[in-house]
Amino acid sequence: MTEILSREQVAWRLAQDIGDGSYVNLGIGMPEIVANYIPDGREIVFHSENGILGMGPEPAAIEIEYDLINAGKKPVTILPGGAFFHHADSFGMIRGGHIDICVLGAFQVSAKGDLANWSTGGPDAVPSVGGAMDLALGAQRVLVMTDHNTKNGDFKIVEECTYPPTGLGVVGTVCTDIAVIDISADGPVVREKVSGLSFDDLQSRTGARLLGVESCGELKVPVLD
């Protein structure tokens, strides 16, 4: 039987790849929970686009400061060693390649690492790009956190993105609910897949040809509440 990871387990798995001392930006939404699963002993500095380094967890209700919110507009805290700066400095930091890792959600990731995560291109949508393009292009390494398939079972890892791209060739690794896939120069390489899932099964759920059949390992995560 195929084990499917919960969102928390995907976040946990992704967090294992964030090394001690990294400067990390967590995208709005699902990526934010990655902060909860950083392994003990690793000191990570979280960046928020609205001008924060050293961002800490959500405060207790009584300590909420509305002048201290993250890019997702949620109340946060600041840790000792943190800093505030203005928006041009904050995006200079991103664009200038100073952020080690950015974790983003995705509508689609292509075999070449193209990312589509800002617009479904629908005629009725209010176009809203925010900082997605800056982050996708600027971060040293983009980690994508996503379900492997859409709710309808459509591919999210595809040969070519059909949704409008956010950036081309930017994705380093995709962590899904069934696999960890690195985007190499040759295409997507499966690093790990969940137990009970054959490589062929994984391929059948993926819209791009996968490499790594020989080398891939097992995607193991702890039980999380």
Binding site: D67, I69, F85, H87, G131, M133
Partner: protein
């Protein structure tokens, strides 16, 4: 003698005319000059172009300014939010023009305007629909697009401390777009939580030097847009809230 302090919000925004391009500080509900924005509604200039990261929330501040029918164009990075129904409706009905700019490019265009930069190259938007029609440059093997400075007639900015020279500090992450917006407008109008004596802000801690500021009005207890939105309070003009 230099004294940039102004007694009333109404006087502070009184110079703003029809057709003005206005930078409005704030990100989400932090750092918004809500009281200045409400004074602008009362003042009532039309056909405004507004620049903000977002496009207003609930029925207060920027959203109330839109709802009052005074704004013909928004320049922003992220108009859509869980409380942006005023903008969403106007946009769908074709009653407001929208220019979407990636957040970092928006910030850099504002900074460029303030710093006398006549355009800059960024990799952001390369390979996307937002780069269409833009000039390109290859530098060290990488492709960049040319972006123009974004000048404005006015800036409305919320600060924490201010003095009579217009020196400013900001509180926590409410700093966001404030410092760069102050530099990019012909006239910068600031609401500060507290006006302090000259010299009370140590010179190493000044974030916006007064040279960028024209008018400062004290708003001691600024209202929280977040609380107003949560309580579904509408700004109806005139006396409040």
């Amino acid at each position: 003698m230099i004294d940039k302090t102004i007694e009333t919000l109404a006087e502070a925004v009184s110079l703003i005319k029809d057709g003005a391009v206005i930078l409005v500080s704030g990100f989400g509900e932090s750092g918004n000059p809500t009281e200045l924005t409400h004074a602008l509604i009362d003042h009532g200039p039309r056909e405004l172009t507004l620049v903000n990261n977002n496009a207003g929330n609930g029925h207060v501040g920027l959203a109330a300014l839109l709802e009052a029918g005074l704004v013909s164009k928004m320049i922003c990075s992220y108009p859509r939010s869980s409380h942006s129904e005023v903008f969403n409706t106007m946009y769908r009905e074709g009653r407001i023009e929208l220019e979407v700019v990636p957040q970092g490019t928006l910030a850099e265009r504002i900074r460029a305007a303030g710093a006398g930069i006549g355009g800059f190259y960024t990799r952001t938007t390369i390979g996307t629909s937002l780069a269409e029609g833009k000039e390109r440059r290859i530098y060290r093997g990488e492709e960049f697009v040319l972006e123009d400075p974004l000048h404005a007639d006015f800036a409305l900015v919320k600060a924490d401390l201010a003095d009579r020279w217009g020196n400013l500090t900001y509180r926590m992450a409410a700093r966001n777009f404030g410092p760069i917006m102050c530099t990019a407008a012909n006239t910068t109008i600031v609401q500060a939580r507290k006006i302090v004596d000259l010299g009370d802000i140590p010179p190493e801690q000044v974030v916006t030097p007064g040279i960028y500021v024209d008018r400062v009005v004290e708003v001691t207890n600024p209202i929280s847009e977040r609380e107003m939105i949560a309580k579904d309070i509408r700004y109806i003009g005139g006396e409040g809230p």
